[in-house]
Symmetry: C2
Subunit: 192 residues, 2 copies
DNA sequence: TCAGTCATGGCACGTCGTGTCATCACTATC
DNA sequence: GATAGTGATGACACGACGTGCCATGACTGA
């Protein structure tokens, strides 16, 4: 790094997001992205597996991060307790460093393109699998582990959406706790 | 229909599933599928939007079906009551006509290919959106509607997976009710 | 008999994503 | 300070995907 401008990956992410918002995902070609970033098409695919991945790079680290946090939690905590205690701080950690403005622009691009939404769902699915394994490692039975993992991810996903829709007004941990409370209320009161 | 062999769509689905299982999704080309079905490549894309869709055709009807069933349910039922009452029979209706053997083969193909799993997640997401709208139409507030929809779809998805893993042993409605019970138990007992 | 409809065939074409080799700055070692 | 190694990038070819467009031919209805 010196012969080439540093931060090629970041330049590609920036150019791609800009172009997706300007003219749409489908209408944006990889050569357009690389031209704006001052690189070639081949280099794009060295950094990202495919055109969609440019908006999700780095998220493959989240599952292992989640696994580590779960392993560090007190073994005495049951699944729902762990979610109640750990989901909010973990979510805050995941989004550290990313500005709200970036997250909103990224959200807009994903919402406008089903193919990108599809990829995002896969990322959440991988996160759920990591959580499920984490619960099993804590001695939780298979079905409960799977259910707890899905509840955690679903709560996380809904809370983040609401948080972004409100432009970050109540902060993310607060929104997560509100969402968790609503989830508890819903499942505990059949006649609601 | 007479000049051409009838059931072109079904032949394509059959050939595609067979080939995916024989040699993998990526290794299977669309011309291979159409050759086995006695058709041309162009015809494949008239029936299916893309290569993955050949395993999910017809599922776009599920959301409107769900919407209809929700509208017909007694308005007095709350979200969780509706799920408890309606999920099992609805699931049974969705799978009517599809043999267990077909479902198992389809499951194997999807599990072997992340791209297919991705598409399946999108189908569930669309189902969730339909449920969410259905709940809102019944007067449920936005957040509760979203949560209830996700809980219903998650339960459905997990139950179907377990049901297929057991080769259909306890029938699907029973498995769904077991899964729902486990979900209730999990969310109602913080110290589990 | 004839016009309309509709599923399919056939072809061209742009884009995606990969394999492969060349280039060249930086680094380590002697 | 010469030399070999490393690693990111450029350049090119290529197969597969997916679409636009027009032609074909069997069926339908007047």
């Amino acid at each position: 790094m010196g012969r080439w401008q540093p931060g090629a990956r970041e330049r590609l992410e920036q150019a791609a997001l800009d172009l997706f918002l300007e003219q749409g995902f489908t209408e944006t070609t990889v050569p357009q992205i690389t031209a704006r970033a001052g690189l070639t098409t081949r280099t794009f695919f060295r950094h990202f597996a495919d055109k969609r991945e440019v908006l999700f790079a780095g998220e493959e680290l989240v599952p292992e991060r989640v696994a580590r946090l779960m392993a560090e939690a007190p073994p005495s905590l049951g699944p729902m307790e762990l979610i109640t205690e750990g989901l909010a701080p973990t979510a805050a950690e995941i989004f550290e460093g990313r500005g709200l403005d970036y997250l909103l622009r990224r959200r807009a691009a994903i919402d406008a393109e089903p193919a990108l939404h599809e990829r995002e769902l896969r990322k959440f699915s991988l996160m759920s699998e990591a959580l499920e394994q984490g619960f099993r490692d804590r001695g939780v039975d298979d079905l409960t582990a799977q259910l707890a993992a899905e509840i955690a991810v679903t709560t996380f996903r809904i809370a983040v959406t609401r948080w972004l829709n409100q432009h970050g007004d109540p902060d993310l941990p607060a929104t997560i706790n509100q969402t968790l409370a609503a989830m508890r209320h819903l499942t505990n009161t059949p006649s609601t």
